[in-house]
């Protein structure tokens, strides 16, 4: 499937439990992960973007129903107002409430591109546009979801995890807190790899079940809410151009933003 602006074409891949980038991504830094890698499942579609030489520059997996087999939770960002005319008080407080509002939506997961090839990012966006077109505009009625990794500081630590998640993750060894903060090192990463698709529901069980007031989080954690990883800084603008919008939902672990295309899944 050719694209007018980016050289190459989108190709739907035959799925045999392992995608192309799974095979080439053994080299460190070859891809930006959007989730812990797992095999393509039943009903899912694996797509890639091949350049003119046939080399794969980008890949994504489209999933028909988020959370329908393994529950997937997100935080919904809201706000509460405390007001009193007598006290000249008007105070808005950000809130977080975990839920499964996005259950049933389609999902663009495992969206990744090569960092060592110029133009791979454009290829990844072209691939996304091509998959959206392949499913047709009517598919927007069911809503599509795209999670992005959240902001990390210069030490590759997630401020949202450090300021929120670490309090509830139940560190059971002196080094586990540090590793869990990183989420890309052993222990935290191994937990995430080990539980795979069940990562968010596993965290959901440990996280507060009631409303969380964002005001109680340290400033770096508040600032990280809904902020994508620095490597994706230019992505939001490109997603908007494709018709996506940033939703009020964020990831449970690093506070990364959740983007939506089309309608939100119906409640209830």
């Amino acid at each position: 499937m050719p694209n007018d602006t980016v050289a190459g074409r989108a190709v739907r891949m035959a799925v045999d439990g392992e995608t192309v980038l799974d095979r080439v991504a053994g080299d460190a830094g070859q891809a930006v992960w959007c989730e812990a890698p797992r095999p393509v499942g039943t009903g899912e579609q694996a797509w890639c973007w091949q350049d003119e030489t046939g080399e794969v520059l980008a890949e994504l997996v489209w999933s028909p129903g988020l959370g329908l087999t393994v529950p997937r939770a997100h935080f919904r960002r809201g706000q509460a107002v405390h007001a009193s005319r007598e006290l000249d008080l008007f105070h808005r407080v950000g809130t977080l409430l975990a839920g499964h509002d996005l259950t049933g939506a389609a999902e663009v997961r495992a969206w990744r591109w090569r960092l060592d090839r110029p133009g791979s990012w454009d290829a990844a966006l072209a691939l996304l546009a091509a998959v959206m077109a392949a499913h047709g505009p009517q598919s927007a009625g069911r809503g599509w979801v795209l999670e992005l990794p959240g902001w990390r500081d210069a030490h590759d630590h997630s401020p949202f995890w450090a300021g929120f998640g670490a309090h509830f993750y139940a560190e059971q060894s002196p080094w586990a807190a540090h590793d869990a903060l990183l989420l890309t090192r052993p222990q935290g990463w191994m937990d995430r790899l080990r539980v795979g698709e069940a990562w968010s529901s596993a965290l959901r069980a440990l996280w507060p079940q009631q409303l969380v007031y964002v005001d109680f989080l340290p400033e770096p954690a508040r600032a990280a809410l809904g902020r994508p990883h620095e490597a994706l800084a230019g992505l939001p603008e490109r997603l908007r151009a494709l018709g996506w919008r940033c939703s009020p939902y964020v990831r449970l672990d690093d506070g990364g933003p959740v983007w939506l295309w089309g309608e939100e899944p119906a409640a209830g």
Binding site: A80, L87, H167, F168, A170, D191, A205, P208, Q210, V212
Partner: protein, 364 residues
Amino acid sequence: MTHSPPSPCPWRLRPVAHADLEALLQIAARSADAINSLPEDRARLDRLIGQSVASFASEDVASGEERYLWVLEDLRDGRLVGTSGVLARAGFHDRFYSYRNEFVLHASPELGRQQRMHTLHLCHDLTGYTLLTSFFILPELELTAAPQLLSRARLLFIQRHAERFSDRLAAETPGWVDEAGNSPFWEAVGRRFFGMSFPQVEALSGGRTKSYIADLMPQAPLHVALLPPAARWALGQMHPVGELPLGILLDEGFDADTYVDLFDGGPTAEARLAQLRTVQHSRWVTLSAQDDPVDSDDENWWQLVGHETAQGFEATLVRGPLDGRLPMAGLAHLPGWQLEAGARVQAAPVNVAAGHGKGGQDAQ
């Protein structure tokens, strides 16, 4: 074993009177950091005295808004050296707010992890409880028997007039403040939502009840893990002035682990009347004309004696044997008691060293 004749207790707990206004103002000024229920305001204090006088005098069925205030009088010079009070029903005109400590164990089988989660839940559990209030004693008398008389005597009164009160009691204790007088708990919670100190909030609310302010506090549970360390430490910690009264209540059988104050995180003790030490051991004793020698090896044990006079319920301490008789000599000096040998009074044994962990000294 040595014996000595009992010496009369120099203190009398009696209902407050209008003539006590000036002395009470001085006490309110001295206790400003500790007692919220004694306003440092002449008009409000006078109304409080009037309310107490009316409450003691009322023979009608109690409505629940009665407020009783006692003063501890030094019989040697007439000086007022302390106060204590009872509010018949907390939150009579509105809800009585508290935070309730709750602990839940969260577990993730996939991750093989468990986490004990501490949350504070806004609640009205203590609405309708009988509140012990207004405890104050001059610092120089803290190590004497006076605090015991001041705090425990009102339990005899509650027992005596149980129909006026709840069978559940509570007592607030001021929370911890730092050297600058700031409450770490308020700074972490209340100030986030009000943007000002608690005294400023009280001033702007124009004397409205605290429940008006509480309505503006965050209604969802607070996750203690997300509070700053200073606030977490201050949770359930008391201001030093609360150590003595809370110690006495804990010795009585109060529990202070479940509830904390909404604004400063100070502990709120609560108990059932029937389980309290003074109540369980109180009995009616016969006054004896004979002065029995007192075993001074047991100098910490006294009898807390309560008696209804024309002004209302009064109390004092008497050194005497822990049996069914009480020497009259220990009560003869009390104005208005008008007792005769053979009369029966309400009494309960009290260890004057209990509650503050310090060796009790002679009542004088």
